[in-house]
Amino acid sequence: MGLTIKHLLGLRGVSEQDITLILDTADNFYEVLQREIKQVPTLKGITVVNLFYENSTRTRISFELAEKRLSASPLNFSTSTSSVSKGESLRDTMRNIEAMKIDMVVVRHGAAGVPAFLTRCTGATIINAGDGLHEHPTQALLDMMTIRQKLGRLTGLKVAIVGDILHSRVARSNAWGMATMGMKVVACGPPTLLPQHCAPLGVTVTDSMDKALDGADVVMMLRLQLERQGSGLFPSIREYRERYGLDLEKLSKLPKNVLVMHPGPINRGIELASNVADGDHSVILDQVTNGVAVRMAVIYLLGGGENA
């Protein structure tokens, strides 16, 4: 028993068995998080480095919490710490960290392929917390855990992912992970925010939100990066909200137990109306709780052992 993968670089190519094992283990860690003492001594003495080249408070805190709840010792290297911002090369940073004898690295970086690059630099276990436009596997895992928790299954469900698909590594990891688990995914956004070549994602692509939402069991809204407005990718926030935002009216056409999800942070009133974000269908806060459980499961399953 145990995972067949040695690192978590992405969900593309990860087997159904491995994903199921992570989700099952996460369910058990969820129980730990309900206890009064939300900690287990399993990873005592194991050091995990959180190497965050991109600013991200919520993901880093989620990982840090997961590490602490497992009694591991987290070390944070972020862009604000001296050597990372002084232009030290990635390879040298990695060598220095390794010289301090750490077991596992959780890395987030703006360039795709960095986690894979690190597996060539070091013997430590690597967990991808988001690399460029490529993948964000723990996010997709916590999304699937939440869906399974609320709807009881994954196979056969239809998921609509709506928003800036082009720049979204969350959309990619979900597309690949959910396809493996037998779910049907539809990616939706304005043509300027969809990849020019979509085939590798293996999902249905549409620019019509009506088509995407039709019969959806889960609607996952993506954050619109407002800075992109100036670069000609979409004309105005008003038009974007009208065509691709989720409000109560659009929500009312969906099945009674549809789930509304969002990886956060939310632009309230733009891609997601406040009353939907806070409404009964929203499982956004469950996603956050499950994030810690999923990350505990991933760290637990990948760590330890005589190089399993």
């Binding site: 593309r12 090369s89 990635l90 390879r91 970086h109 703006g110 360039a111 795709a112 392929g113 960095v114 894979a116 690059f117 690399d131 460029g132 436009l133 490529h134 993948e135 590594r169 990619r172 990849p195 020019q196 070549h197 979509c198 085939a199 590798p200 994602l201």
Partner: protein, 447 residues
């Protein structure tokens, strides 16, 4: 003498003329300029070719004999697109190490690009390169820049650069952004009968890209440069050439659309020539799955469909030249995450073998067409007398062993660069001898 462990040896030419009488026997002489493709003997005296015949006259009196049985004897190869990095980045390559690499690759001449530091944008800079290359084992012809400092605003002084030895102008590394400046450059080049070599890339369309925009870039999550970023400027430069009546040479063609544009333009009589590179012939963007920075260059590796169009363009003559775009980098600039890695791969020491393995062995090109594209046409386009084995011409000769089998090991290269996309590849063929002015300057023994 510079020996390498894999049996390569470079001999520095002695000052002055070559004293030998040399005869090259039993080789298949391939000289398309003179319509020759036959087993002949080639005789060299005082650095010039004096004989090319089936039989060697008994009184020739050669002091040295080269037995080229099983090998091809061709006019010295020329790579018309290399980056020698000197002046400015001697850590990446120097004129000396670059010419050694060229010689080992079978080249007797190269044309080097002006994106050095300082840029080769006036007489003294061109002169510097010419002087530094004086005693090299390979001839070096500088290409001057189109605009001062490569800034795309003011024209460089073409006349004085040509006088100092420049054979063409180019802003290679980027395009001339402003179409009116490009038009002026084309018009001005007519006075000097030089081609304008165009690096075609629309910087707005390509901005932020690190590889070809396609299914692969979606898969890898890397921002892409669409093929159309190259094609819109190819179209522009061809149309400006047609309008002004000037000569353009499109550098490193990589897309199907570019091939089509050049083909159509040639049909209309536009004075356009173009080149492609060995890496586009052998690899596609599928080969980037492991984010290997030794496969990152600009223009980037494109799709299989683009590659097929390049092969068709080579076969039907649309593509005139194969050049390497040899671009050495130090490991600090390559051994980093993909997005941060510099663009460029080396090629001088693998070009010939790649062409032999992927084009000759696969019957895409005939041996005579290889000689055209790697010797005759580069010389013609740059207005040089080389590229033939005509009697009386300077004895720059390459003897190719097309049957040799070898594995690429970048640690044995003469180039300072190690950024080859082909490390570990099993290839067919190499230059066994490189002969410059009748001197055997390079010899390769199998280890």
């Amino acid at each position: 003498m510079l020996k390498k462990p894999n049996g390569q040896t470079i001999y520095r030419p002695i000052d002055g003329a070559c004293p030998q009488k040399l005869i090259i026997k039993n080789g298949r002489v391939i000289d398309p300029a003179n319509g020759v493709d036959d087993v002949c003997a080639v005789g060299v005296e005082n650095g010039l070719i004096t004989l090319c015949a089936k039989e060697v006259p008994p009184d020739f009196g050669a002091q040295e004999e080269l037995d080229a049985s099983g090998m091809w004897v061709v006019p010295g190869l020329m790579d018309m697109h290399v980056h020698l990095r000197e002046p400015g980045r001697e850590d990446k390559e120097t004129i000396e190490t670059g010419t050694l690499a060229a010689c080992a690759g079978g080249f007797t001449a190269v044309a080097c690009m002006p994106n050095t530091n300082p840029v080769l944008d006036e007489e003294s800079k061109i002169r510097y390169v010419v002087q530094r290359a004086q005693n090299s084992v390979c001839r070096v012809y500088p290409v001057g820049s189109i605009t001062k400092g490569l800034l795309g605003e003011e024209l460089s002084p073409f006349g004085e650069m040509v006088r100092a030895g420049a054979r063409a102008v180019s802003d290679d590394g980027k395009s001339v952004r402003k179409a009116d400046i490009m038009k002026n450059a084309l018009n001005y080049s007519k006075s000097f009968r030089i081609p304008v070599i165009c690096h075609c890339e629309d910087s707005d369309l390509a901005r932020g890209g690190h590889m070809n925009e396609g299914a692969m870039s979606t898969l890898l999550g890397v921002w892409g440069m669409p093929s159309v970023a190259e094609e819109v400027v190819v179209a522009r430069d061809i149309m400006l050439a047609a309008y002004t009546g000037a000569r353009v040479h499109i550098a490193h063609v990589s897309t199907a659309g570019s091939v089509r544009l050049v083909r159509d333009a040639k049909k209309l009589g536009v004075q356009v020539t173009c080149e492609t590179c060995p890496h586009y012939i052998a690899l596609t963007d599928d080969d980037l799955a492991a984010y290997d920075t030794n496969r990152k260059m600009n223009p980037p590796l494109r799709t299989r469909l683009d590659q097929e169009a390049l092969l068709a363009g080579l076969a039907d003559g649309t593509i005139d030249v194969i050049a390497s775009d040899h671009a050495p980098h130090v490991s600090e600039e390559k051994d980093v995450e993909f997005d941060a890695a510099a663009f460029g791969v080396i090629g001088l020491e693998t070009s010939l073998a790649i062409v032999l393995t992927y084009l000759i062995e696969k019957d895409v090109l005939l041996p005579s067409e290889l000689v055209e594209k790697m010797s005759l046409m580069p010389n013609r386009i740059l207005g040089l007398p080389g590229g033939t084995l005509s009697k009386g011409s300077v004895a720059d000769i390459t003897v190719i062993d097309p049957n040799a089998r070898w594995t690429v090991d970048s640690s044995t290269f003469y180039s300072k660069g190690r950024n080859t996309p082909f490390n570990g590849f099993d290839l067919h063929g190499f230059a066994r001898y490189t002969i410059l002015s009748g001197n055997i300057v390079y010899e390769r023994k199998d280890p």
